[in-house]
């Protein structure tokens, strides 16, 4: 547009080079000075423009040249390494060395940038038309695929929620802006507010965990749209919100919260509100699965199920709803209880000890028996207990008696 009217001397050297390439002009040696490029540029391109101006098909040719200059070398794979680098630089990307292994990546990046630039012009208009509904069934499906790999800035995602058509472009725009942090942000945006869209939704009911989060938005949506939308819509929206990949669900918050139907702009901080709502709200359309999760909740008029959390013991200001199962116990009583617990074992220990000593004594006796002779007396002595001494003596006497008797 304005570029071909520009004085070539104002263009950068790389720009001149790329223009020359675009006009299939042979490039001078790499180390040439800029003036050489400018001269060549004027020579070939200046002339061409003159021709363009004078021709009857001026507009068409101008459009073509405009297009060439607008898209700035539309085919990244046809560019030289330097040109590719220059092109990336123009888009604000400081590229590293473009070698064999990196070239493909940079080409891909340039393509993305070119596409996003092409769509980026629409953004200004789009934002003004934020809350209008668009029924783009097919595009929703496409968006899903694209969005699966894209990330989104939250504000933009919120705004995009209703724009299925433009959403795709913004998706790509956002994709370049960020990294891979929030891949599925846009999924909900496109899915939640298509009025009457029949886009193919994955079976959302399957994943309970994802529903926990998606339910939060659904609640918001439900409440706001209850009077306006049919249940089928919300069901579809809910189904759509339950995407296969679950781990980005916390970021989907923003989408549905912008209620496009009511033209309200609700900007919730992503995770705070999600967690808030998650704890308190469930949704009617999702009732079946939710009920499984929360079987004990009662139905309420608003359809919101709030599970009361057990009050924390000793929490300030919280009334005690029911008696605590445990009675307050002082440390001394605890000690006493411990001691009591030990008492019984102690008795058992003593018993065991006695048994063990008896056994050991028996064994000792046996050993002595083998070495010293008759053990009966000793065993008897053992069994007689405390009066063993007297018994021993008696035994000894009895033993002695037969012994001498034998001897005699």
């Amino acid at each position: 547009m304005s570029q071909f009217v520009e004085n070539p001397a104002h263009l950068s050297k790389s720009r001149l080079k790329s223009d020359l390439v675009a006009h299939s002009v042979e490039l001078p040696p790499v180390k040439s000075k800029k003036e050489v490029y400018v001269g060549l540029h004027l020579q070939h391109i200046g002339q061409k423009n003159a021709v363009d101006f004078s021709s009857d098909e001026e507009d068409q040719v101008q459009d073509v040249s405009d297009k060439e200059e607008d898209t700035e070398m539309p085919d990244p794979s046809g560019l030289t390494d330097d040109d590719l680098k220059a092109a990336l630089l123009e888009h604000g990307v400081k590229a590293g060395p473009i070698v064999a292994s990196t070239r493909a990546l940079y080409e891909k990046k340039l393509r993305k940038l070119l596409q996003s630039n092409g769509h980026g012009c629409l953004n200004g208009v789009e934002k003004g038309v934020l809350y209008s509904d668009s029924e783009e069934e097919e595009e929703n499906g496409e968006e899903e695929d694209r969005e699966l790999g894209s990330e989104g800035e939250k504000e933009e995602t919120v705004k995009q929620s209703d724009q299925a058509q433009q959403g795709s472009s913004q998706v790509e725009l956002c994709f370049q802006n960020g990294g891979f942090v929030y891949p599925q942000c846009f999924l909900l945006s496109s899915r939640l507010f298509p009025s009457g869209s029949q886009s193919v939704m994955p079976d959302g009911e399957s994943s309970m965990s994802s529903q926990a989060f998606s339910i939060t938005h659904m609640v918001e949506e439900m409440e706001s749209r209850r009077s306006l939308s049919t249940s089928s819509d919300t069901e579809r929206a809910l189904n759509g919100s339950n995407v296969q990949k679950h781990w980005s669900r916390s970021n989907r918050l923003d989408m549905p919260i912008v209620d496009t139907m009511k033209n309200q702009s609700l900007y919730y901080t992503p995770k705070a509100s999600s967690y808030e709502w998650k704890m308190k709200l469930t949704q009617e359309p999702v009732k079946d699965t939710v009920k499984n999760m929360f079987p004990n909740t009662d139905a309420t008029t608003t359809g919101i199920y709030a599970t009361r959390r057990r009050p924390i013991k000793g929490a300030a200001g919280r009334p005690v709803q029911y008696a605590y199962p445990d009675t307050p116990v002082s440390p001394t009583t605890l000690e006493k209880r411990e001691v009591e617990r030990r008492l019984v074992p102690i008795q058992i220990q003593i018993l065991v000890f006695l048994i063990v000593t008896c056994l050991l004594y028996l064994i000792y006796v046996c050993v002595e028996d083998n070495s010293f002779g008759p053990s009966v007396a000793l065993l008897d002595r053992f069994y007689q207990g405390s009066d063993s001494e007297e018994g021993l003596l008696l035994q000894a006497e009895t033993q002695d008696v037969p012994a001498p008797s034998r001897q005699e």
């Binding site: 590293g96 060395p97 070698v99 292994s101 990196t102 990546l105 891909k108 990046k109 891979f180 891949p183």
Partner: protein, 90 residues
């Protein structure tokens, strides 16, 4: 750094030397084989690619995905591993 794996910690603990590409965090048998087929048979070659991409996360992840088809988690693991290694030794 509670989420780093043992493999990550082992790799980052010492200069990589001649370690095979499968020593990288996030690169197992399958991905390692694919990388080797492409010519990236040692960890230092992947390091080379990482450095040529100026340690840019997005580009490196894209490259990994294109070269061996690693998923997002493995891309992240490998990137983190190399980045930390560079911080420590480069």
């Amino acid at each position: 750094m509670s989420s780093t794996s043992q493999k990550h910690r082992d790799f980052v603990a010492e200069p990589m030397g001649e370690k095979p590409v499968m020593a990288l965090a996030g690169i197992g048998e399958v991905y390692g084989k694919r990388l080797e087929e492409k010519g990236f048979d040692k960890a230092y070659v992947v390091l080379g690619q990482f450095l040529v991409l100026k340690k840019d996360e997005e580009l490196f992840r894209d490259w990994l995905k294109d070269t061996c088809g690693a998923n997002v988690k493995q891309q992240g693991d490998c990137y983190g591993c190399l980045k930390e290694w560079c911080d420590a030794f480069l």
